[in-house]
C-alpha cells in the first residue's frame, strides 16, 4: 500500500548528496514503497534542504528490522544526559 503517513521533522546538521556536502534542514520519515530496495515496504528517510532544490536530498531505504536496529543504535550512541547546545 501507499501509507500516506509521513513524519517531517526539522533537523540541524549536514548530509552528503550527489553534489557533495550540504546543510540539512528537514528529515522525512515514512514506511512505504521503496524506489530501490528489494522489499515491498521500507522505512524511508529523506534528509533534505528544500531551499537548495529537490536534488538536495540524502535518501535511505531500510527494511523494518534494519530500521529498528538503527534506531536503537542511534539512541545507544547518543550521550546521556543530552549536552547543552554549543553557542
Amino acid at each position: 500500500m501507499c501509507t500516506y503517513s509521513t513524519q517531517v521533522v526539522a533537523v540541524e546538521g549536514s548530509g552528503k548528496g550527489a553534489a557533495g556536502w550540504f546543510r540539512l534542514t528537514s528529515a522525512s520519515v515514512y514506511f512505504d514503497h521503496p524506489v530501490h530496495a528489494a522489499a515491498d515496504h521500507t522505512l524511508n528517510l529523506d534528509f533534505a534542504n528544500r531551499a537548495l532544490g529537490p536534488a538536495a536530498r540524502v535518501a535511505v531505504e531500510l527494511t523494518a528490522p534494519a530500521a529498528r536496529q538503527l534506531a536503537r543504535a542511534i539512541l545507544a550512541a547518543l550521550p546521556e544526559p543530552e549536552p547543552e547546545p554549543a553557542d
Binding site: 500500500m1 500516506y4 524506489v35 536534488a55 536530498r57
Partner: protein, 247 residues
C-alpha cells in the same frame, strides 16, 4: 500493418490553469481511438509508469500521464520529486482532479481521438483514478489496488486522505478493479465493500482479486511482481478499455 507509436513529453493545462508536464504516447495512424489517462503511483512519474503509458499506445489507445509532482519539483528526477511532494503533504484531491481533467482534454483534442477517455491508476493512483471517475465525465475507470477508496487513511496520518466511495454515485463510467488477495491495503474486506456499494448503485463493474498476489503485482521491477496476475490483469484492462472506449 502500420504500428508506429510516438511517445513524448508535453505540457498540459492542469488544475488552476497551471502548466504541467505530461507524457503522451499515441499510435500514429489516424484513428479514431479512445484515450487513457494514466495516474502514476506515489513513488512518482517514473520510468515504469512511462512504460505503462507507452504500452497503452501499443494496445491502440492514446495515453497521457500527467506528472503530479511537477509543481513541487520541475525537472527533478522522479524519486527526488516524489520526496519533495511527500514532504509538502502530497497532492490534494482537488488538484489531482484538475490535472486529470487537463490530461483528458488533451486526449479528446487529438486529431485521432474519438473523444472517449478512461482513467487508470496504480496504488495511490488507484484511489485517484476512482476519485477522478466520480468527479469527471470519464467513460471507464480502472482501479489497480488503490487503498483508501472505501476507508479513510488513519486519522493520525499527518497528510490524511478521506475515503472516496461516498462519491461513487457520480461515476459516469464502469469500474474495473484489480486486487491481490494478500493485500491488506486495500484488504479483501475493503474491496468487498466497494463491490457492495457499486452493486447497490447499479454501476457496471468487475472486481477481480488474485490469489497468491499482494499489492503492486503489476510492478515488473519489484519483488511484488506476480506474472500470472499481471498477465491476466493486462488482458482485462485491454478488454475493458476496448469495450468502453470504442468509437
Amino acid at each position: 500493418m502500420y504500428d508506429a507509436v510516438l511517445a513524448e513529453t508535453i505540457t498540459i493545462t492542469g488544475d488552476g490553469g497551471d502548466a504541467v508536464e505530461a507524457y503522451l504516447a499515441r499510435p500514429l495512424d489516424p484513428g479514431p481511438r479512445g484515450g487513457v489517462v494514466v495516474i502514476h503511483h506515489m513513488p512518482g512519474y517514473d520510468a515504469a509508469t512511462k512504460e505503462i503509458t507507452r504500452r497503452f499506445a501499443v494496445l491502440g489507445f492514446n495515453a497521457c500521464c500527467p506528472n503530479l509532482y511537477h509543481r513541487e519539483a520541475p525537472g527533478a528526477s522522479p524519486d527526488d520529486a516524489a520526496a519533495s511532494a511527500r514532504a509538502l503533504g502530497g497532492v490534494s484531491d482537488d488538484r489531482l482532479v484538475g490535472d486529470v481533467a487537463g490530461a483528458a482534454a488533451v486526449l479528446r483534442g487529438l486529431t485521432s481521438a474519438n473523444r472517449k477517455v478512461g482513467v487508470i491508476g496504480y496504488c495511490s493512483g488507484g484511489r485517484q483514478a476512482f476519485l477522478a471517475g466520480c468527479r469527471l465525465p470519464l467513460d471507464a475507470v480502472v482501479d489497480c489496488y488503490g487503498a483508501f477508496v472505501a476507508t479513510s487513511t488513519p486519522p493520525e496520518a499527518p497528510f490524511s486522505r478521506p475515503a472516496v466511495i461516498g462519491l461513487a454515485a457520480g461515476l459516469a463510467g464502469p469500474v474495473l478493479g484489480l486486487f491481490g488477495a494478500e493485500d491488506q491495503h486495500p484488504s479483501p474486506a475493503e474491496t468487498a465493500e466497494l463491490e457492495r456499494v457499486l452493486t447497490e448503485l447499479g454501476t457496471p463493474h468487475e472486481l477481480h482479486t488474485y490469489e497468491g498476489a499482494g499489492h503492486a503485482f503489476f510492478a515488473v521491477d519489484r519483488p511484488s511482481y506476480r506474472p500470472e496476475a499481471a498477465g491476466d490483469g493486462w488482458s482485462r484492462i485491454a478488454d475493458w478499455f476496448g469495450r468502453y472506449l470504442a468509437a
